[in-house]
């Protein structure tokens, strides 16, 4: 048997994100969605940079929210609704594997927003702002002569031809990448006429701040730049000196990007970690900038029923009914699985559908649920 026998194209209750990001869907949890969209709209429409803390238990949908707004067309729709230029959104997981936490953040940033894209966005920006003005903006925001020089070389001066003329058989992006990560050859450094690489965390903050400040300048090209910093609670598993270094960097980065930057910090609630203690993890300076908190509360049973139905409907084969006989059956399952999180609901319903396929059950009713109760791991009497 396949999901088709249940009237579904596939299992709607995914446990990992789909391969095709456009297939990421939002079901239920309308209150959280509307709160997030309210903050996003505010950042599209107004200038000051902001930090918002997303707070919720494990499996409550924080990572999903970051993917939804970074990978689907939803953000584009929001900008269009507001008649504003597009916003850009990326998701970065808190770096914790390396001893150079800031460098790792930079690498993740450029992994999500590549130099090729940055270059293209700056070239597009040149259609909207004349070069002299853009140079002035770079000068103002970079606040550092070598960063300013780097942008001028990258955006205005360097081409593949200039590289070839100087016997450098690399494309402009690998030249830049090598420079940024301090891997440049002597020949390249000579051509760039610059010191070796970005020296310290402050320069990295300057570098990223300049990119964002320019491409969102006066909301001409992007109206807002959104970064979702996922798994931020892991800051408590990072060595203390690295954690302090990272929060200091983050504060510098925000200070150097006073406009059009929106950072969502995803925090998974754990025992021993209270939201009141946020300043201990972020540092006073950063915590005082993170005044808004969005609570990813666990759904009620009724909200969970709506979620299951909405999600199943997306994957339903046209002209077929959902495989569940009634809302009562959904409720019967949901009241028996303890605290509801979207992760737990997805896992439980995946098991239910899988069991229906194995048992050849086309309609899922309470009697069937009773017969497979032992298979439902989260089941509690």
């Amino acid at each position: 048997m396949t999901y088709e026998t249940l009237g579904l194209k596939e299992n709607p209750f995914r446990l990992t994100p789909p391969l095709n990001p456009e297939e990421i869907v939002w079901a239920g949890m309308s209150e959280v969605k509307s709160k997030l969209e309210q903050r996003i709209k505010l950042s599209i429409q107004t200038r000051p940079s902001r930090i918002v803390v997303n707070w919720g238990s494990y499996g409550s949908g924080k990572t999903h929210a970051s993917l939804y707004f970074s990978k689907t067309t939803r953000l584009r729709e929001l900008s269009t609704e507001l008649n504003a230029p597009l916003a850009k959104s990326i998701k970065i997981t808190l770096p914790r594997a390396s001893n150079d936490i800031v460098q790792e953040f930079l690498r993740s940033f450029l992994g999500q927003y590549s130099l090729e894209e940055i270059y293209q966005d700056f070239q597009n920006l040149r259609d909207k702002i004349d070069d002299d003005e853009l140079k002035k903006i770079i000068k103002t925001y970079s606040n550092d002569s070598s960063i300013e020089k780097l942008f001028n070389k990258f955006i205005f001066e360097m081409t593949t031809t200039t590289l070839l003329d100087n016997n450098i058989d690399e494309n402009i992006f690998s030249v830049m990448k090598n420079y940024i990560f301090g891997d440049s050859t002597k020949t390249t450094l000579k051509l760039l006429d610059m010191p070796l690489g970005l020296k310290n965390d402050e320069q990295i903050a300057n570098f990223l701040g300049t990119i964002i400040s320019c491409i969102t300048y006066d909301k001409k090209y992007y109206s807002s730049f959104i970064i979702w910093l996922d798994e931020f609670e892991d800051i408590d598993t990072v060595k203390k000196s690295l954690a302090d270094r990272f929060t200091t960097f983050l504060r510098q980065f925000i200070d150097k990007t006073p406009n059009n930057l929106m950072i969502f910090l995803n925090f998974t609630q754990k025992a021993f970690m209270d939201i009141e203690d946020l300043s201990l993890y972020l540092g006073e300076a950063l915590a005082s900038r993170a005044k808004v908190k969005i609570d990813f509360e666990n759904p009620t049973v009724d909200e969970a029923v709506a979620y299951v139905k909405e999600l199943s409907a997306i994957y339903k084969i046209e002209d077929r009914d959902l495989p569940f006989d009634s809302d009562e059956t959904l409720k019967y399952i949901l009241v028996h699985i303890g605290n509801l999180t979207t992760r737990k609901i997805n896992e439980t319903f995946s098991i239910v559908l899988e069991m229906a396929l194995i048992e050849g059950q086309e309609q899922i009713n309470q009697e069937f649920i009773d017969s497979i109760q032992e298979e439902i791991i989260a089941w509690e009497e």
Binding site: T16, D100, D236, T237, K270, A271
Partner: protein, 285 residues
Amino acid sequence: MYLILDACTVLNLLQVDLISNSDDEYNLNYNYIKRVKTIDSFQIQITEKVLEEIKKNYSKNSNIVKKNLFLKTYIEKKLHGLVDYTIDKNDFECALVFTKKVTKYSKDNGELHSTSYALYLNKYLKNTVLNSYFITDDDGAIDDFENFFKINLLGQILTTIDLLLILETYNIITLSGIFRFSSDLKKQYIKDYSNLLKEMEALQKSQLPFKESSFLTKLYENINSLDFEKVKTDIESPLYANIKRKQPSIDTLLQNILKDDLKKVDILDAKIEEIKSKYWTMDKI
């Protein structure tokens, strides 16, 4: 006045205070012990037994070579100086026998030796009262010896946080410095706990069968809510065997947690709450 430090206190004061630079060279940030020593009216002491325990345990939770090397050097250079080698062995032995007899304490450890040392200092050496303070974060030791301190008018048993509060009264550190210390200490207590949750989350990112994923979520929830009775039942499940096979570190960390006493964290949290509400500061006027 004597401040007699237990091994856990010394290790907490050192380990929470360690900082490293980008070359992984370690140092102490505040150097609390040195700061206490600047107060003339206090004399820090540790017993030989405690020093022995510190030497045995300083590297237990870390395999970072440079960190352990720093601690080893610190112990050799600084902590030996805190041991009272002029002690009258016979008198101390008498104090030890008496303490054991009265408290019915059977372990020959740093806590017992520190309590006996307090008795020795007050009664055998100086013939005085309320002169010795034993600083420990071992709540079992507090229960075992609190009454002994009281009835013999030795002084009090205090915790590491109390010791820092003493520094606060001398304006050597601030209250927010104490809160930071307590948060770092808490992180240390729950290190295995946090890493375990992390490992479980990481495994769940792989394509696990639905039942294993669901089991992992259930286990996660029980660990996160500190319901260890349920956790003990969970690990009997055949699904746990699959998890263990896929990610052995989960089992290692979980066994550590089941052995460890997370009650310390609650006690620490309660202490900080109490300081916030009941400890007199200028802003409470």
